[in-house]
């Protein structure tokens, strides 16, 4: 239906497409109506009430986010009645909020703070409720800290956890003055099904949900002359970081980021993309090996489809929700953990540094990576493989604290040994990227030819649909893989755990005939990760994805197996994919977990 309705906004007549809300109509007209509980990723809640507007003829005000425009509506977005009510609602929220802004992690990027500032709330006449209640801080998780005293009960986190992720770790409990956002039986976040994906952090308007930061620990390591601090940067960080430092979304800042990291004092600035390429070598080989076992050896114990294992949020999810399918997971560690294990072995040897003197820091678009680094099995180098994980946001804080004028920095290049990467490694940051990178390599291993897509761009696996399917027919393979001749390799890509859930349900039901599935916990893949700059929305994620694919196209090496440092790594250290060293350092096991 493309029908239009005629309304007036603040006296000016406008034509609006049927079905649009007052909020959307106002936005089209360049009028911002303040919101708190509203988020473009989520369903309409209409519970904060700061978006109220006046509709002529109605005594009560309407929530702009939840009210569709109707023919003849006369809307006032800024009448005295609206402003007074709105101001009073903000005052109420502040009365309930621990408004100790200078001590808040989100100081400067808080939607409530911005609103209070816009409406110039200079006094607090209402009775402060925070001192009267016994709020607690849940700081037990290595990834996420939840402070109820800063919660404004907008339920964005609850809707995120349910609608985007299908996890439902966060829920609403109690009613009235005791109503709160909590977990099953009010347990700590680390003790429930929480996947640490951090989407709740990304969608929280205030400081009620934040990442556990390791900023001071990293500064301390850098300042320690006896420590050699290596840093790795994940693919998606380079297309998000700029947003925290005053740039518009969609700008890739790889060179400036490397320059900044060098100026911060890291001893070696390396790239997770390198181990992304390595992941492709290991995971691609693993897939082909599984296919061989299944198709040639008729080995029934081989689990297919094989699922990717790069996303730690997804890993924790499957451990809780589909523990009977852990065999479907690739045994490959994520690129971060492969990097960590190599940093304290291969890299330490090559650079002749004692592994115990290496501090391994990673910059990730992710809060679940903090938990991943913390896992007991991630000590294969003999030490904790990755010592500190910082989010994109924390890196921006380091840069600001160091007083660097980011935009004036001359782009620099990654250091060598584990700093080289291909375009295939870069696109790990976008949903479908791991699949595309794997296909570029696996197809070539099997057939000796490049994937039959123009410019190596495997468009069918790209995009933003929650679940995408693609298949690629293998013809005229090289002798070693002759058994794959005529096989149609079927793949699926799912991002956002709610989509992962529906794919896994079909796997569980036995109706999924895929060979290989890429799962990413966060919407859009890592570029929409829980550690990326706030705000996030579909538009911002689209721009970040464009930047990632542009970066891929601009690189001289586009395929993981062409990465010279990867070749060197295998020649000097690992010998062969899935070899003994690989098995020890680069592969892992998973843990069955309960839902409750």
């Amino acid at each position: 239906m493309s029908k239009k309705v005629n309304i007036t906004i603040n006296g000016f007549p406008v034509e609006i497409a049927t079905g649009k809300t007052i909020l959307e109509a106002a936005e089209e007209q360049g009028i911002t109506i303040p919101t708190l509980c509203h988020h473009k990723d989520l369903c309409v809640a209409g519970n904060c009430r700061v978006c109220v507007v006046e509709v002529a003829g109605q005594n009560r005000l309407s929530a702009a986010c939840a009210t569709p425009c109707e023919e003849g509506m006369e809307i006032l977005t800024n009448s005295l009645k609206v402003r007074n009510s709105r101001k009073q609602i903000i005052e109420l929220l502040l009365a309930e909020h621990n408004a100790d802004c200078t001590k808040c992690y989100r100081n400067g990027n808080c939607e409530l703070q911005t609103l209070a500032s816009e409406y110039k709330i200079m006094t607090q006449d209402f009775i402060e409720l925070v001192p009267l209640k016994h709020f607690s801080i849940d700081a037990y998780s290595p990834s996420i800290i939840k402070d109820d005293s800063k919660c404004i009960r907008c339920q964005r986190c609850v809707r995120t956890c349910a609608e985007l992720q299908g996890v439902n770790a966060l829920t609403v409990a109690h009613k009235g003055d005791k109503m709160k956002i909590t977990t099953f039986f009010e347990k700590a976040m680390r003790d429930v099904v929480c996947t640490n994906c951090g989407q709740c952090v990304n969608h929280c308007p205030t400081g009620a949900l934040v990442e556990r930061n390791y900023i001071e620990e990293v500064w301390e390591a850098i300042a320690n002359p006896n420590k050699h601090v290596v840093v790795q940067t994940a693919p998606a960080v380079r297309v998000g970081l700029g947003e925290e430092l005053g740039l518009k979304p969609g700008k890739s800042v790889t060179g400036k980021m490397v320059a900044a990291l060098k100026r911060l004092g890291f001893d070696s600035v390396l790239d997770t993309d390198f181990t992304a390429d390595l992941t492709i070598m290991e995971e691609g080989t693993e897939l082909l090996t599984r296919l061989k076992k299944a198709l040639v050896d008729n080995d029934k114990s081989v689990a297919l489809p094989m699922a990717t294992s790069c996303s730690p949020g997804w890993i924790k999810y499957i451990e809780h929700m589909f523990p009977e399918h852990l065999n479907n997971l690739s045994t490959c560690k994520s690129p971060q953990q492969m990097f960590g294990a190599l940093a304290k072995t291969y890299y330490a040897n090559a650079r002749n540094i004692k592994p115990e003197d290496i501090v391994s820091v990673s910059i990730m678009p992710c809060t679940a990576k903090k938990y991943e680094a913390f896992r007991p099995e991630m000590h294969d180098s003999g030490y904790r493989d990755v010592d500190y994980v910082l989010t994109t946001r924390e890196l921006a804080i380091l840069i600001k604290q160091a007083g660097l004028d980011f935009n004036k920095l001359e782009p620099a290049k990654y250091d060598r040994l584990m700093g080289e990467s291909s375009g295939a490694g870069v696109i790990f940051g976008a949903t479908g990227g791991v699949m595309e990178a794997a296909l570029r390599t696996a197809y070539e291993i099997v057939t000796g030819r490049e994937v039959p897509f123009e410019n190596l761009n495997i468009i069918p696996v790209r995009g933003s649909d929650g679940i995408r399917e693609a298949s690629i027919k293998i013809e005229n393979p090289v002798e070693e893989w002759a058994f794959l001749d005529g096989v149609e390799l079927k793949c699926a890509v799912a991002h956002g755990l709610i989509n992962a859930k529906s794919v896994m349900e079909s796997v569980k039901a036995g109706t999924a005939d895929y060979h290989f599935i890429e799962f990413m916990a966060c919407p859009g893949g890592c570029l929409g990760g829980g550690g990326q700059p706030i705000p996030t929305n579909p538009e911002i994620r689209r721009k970040r994805a464009e930047a990632i694919y542009a970066e891929d196209e601009g690189l001289p090496i586009r395929k993981s197996h062409d990465n010279p440092e990867i070749k060197k790594l295998y020649k000097d250290f690992l010998k062969e994919p899935l070899g003994e060293v690989s098995h020890h350092l680069l592969h892992t096991k998973y843990t069955k977990r309960e839902r409750y």
Partner: protein, 394 residues
Amino acid sequence: MATSNQLKRVDFIFRNENDWEKILSSTLERKPQELINELISSELKGRGGAGFPTGLKWKLTAESKEKEKYVICNADEGEPGTFKDREILSRVPYKVLTAMAICGYITGAKKGYIYLRGEYKFLLPELNKVIDEFEYYCKETNLDFKISIFMGSGAYICGEETALMESMEGKRGEPRNKPPFPTQAGFMGKPTVINNVETLVHTFTIFKYGAKKFYDLGVQYSRGTKLFSVSGDTPKPGIYELELGMSLQDFVYEFGDGDTKAVQVGGASGFLVPRKKFKDAAIGFKGKLTGISLPTGGSMMLFNSSRSMFNVLDNYLEFFREESCGQCTPCRVGCQQLLLGIKAVKRGEKPASYLDKLLRLTETMQYTAKCGLGQSVANSFSSIVENFREEMIY
């Protein structure tokens, strides 16, 4: 609004006629459109307190093209001081069932639910017996309509129609955004008629005796009779069916103890009327509280001079603070602020003028709260604070 000159007791609702099968079968022989017109011409308005025209509600649902529709009887009677629905369900439950079946026939709904207040669990055995009898009748007459009971769990907010539906769907009892209204997308997203228990019984009366008989009772804008739950400082507490439009003065003559200081009309979410305004206040639907008319779900609480209005308000606000669902800001935080605020004024921690700030807050709550709960806290608060300001302060 015109007022009737004296209190008229009527007896329709509890008249025990035992002819529901006859009424049902004769009504189902008539055309749905004819029945809707009859209902509309009776000018019956919802008896839960909000007063939405019942005929229109049924008409809107009947007009919907959706195949699946529902009829819900709201028996979550939770308004403080109301206890009439309990009495209806224990004394004339078959009238409710009959009305639901007629509503199903008119609107095309095949399924009816009674949402029974958690505390009314004791009614279940008897109600189930009546439903069994009713089902037997339906089977005998090939009437495709089933009724089940859904037990509430004791939250006041679940009496709000959309929160009630959320609760029935297994979700947290929180009111929805409107639109869409239940007639468009109610229970399970399907068009739904949801009526108060008493409203349904009135439709029974209308289909039995004709709209005119009902219309002739009451006054303009407020036709028919209403059950009143009379409690508080009265020598004769109980449930009374009275014609609408009576003046509060007449009511107090009849039910007061000679020392009535104020009457709370419509429960905690209604209005408190002080003695000096009894003469001007009438019980009916038109307009807001201007000393003229008071819509009500039927709760009438009388207070005599021994009662402190501060304590009364304090009690209401404690109730609201706890029973707000907590999702929307004005209601969740507003109720807490009102309660703490009047206590602070009473203790001298806030100046008397703080009451004015609180009155402005209730205005904001009335304008902006998501549902009727938060919107109507202003009613009792402002009517008590404005009329008994000195009791709030000293």
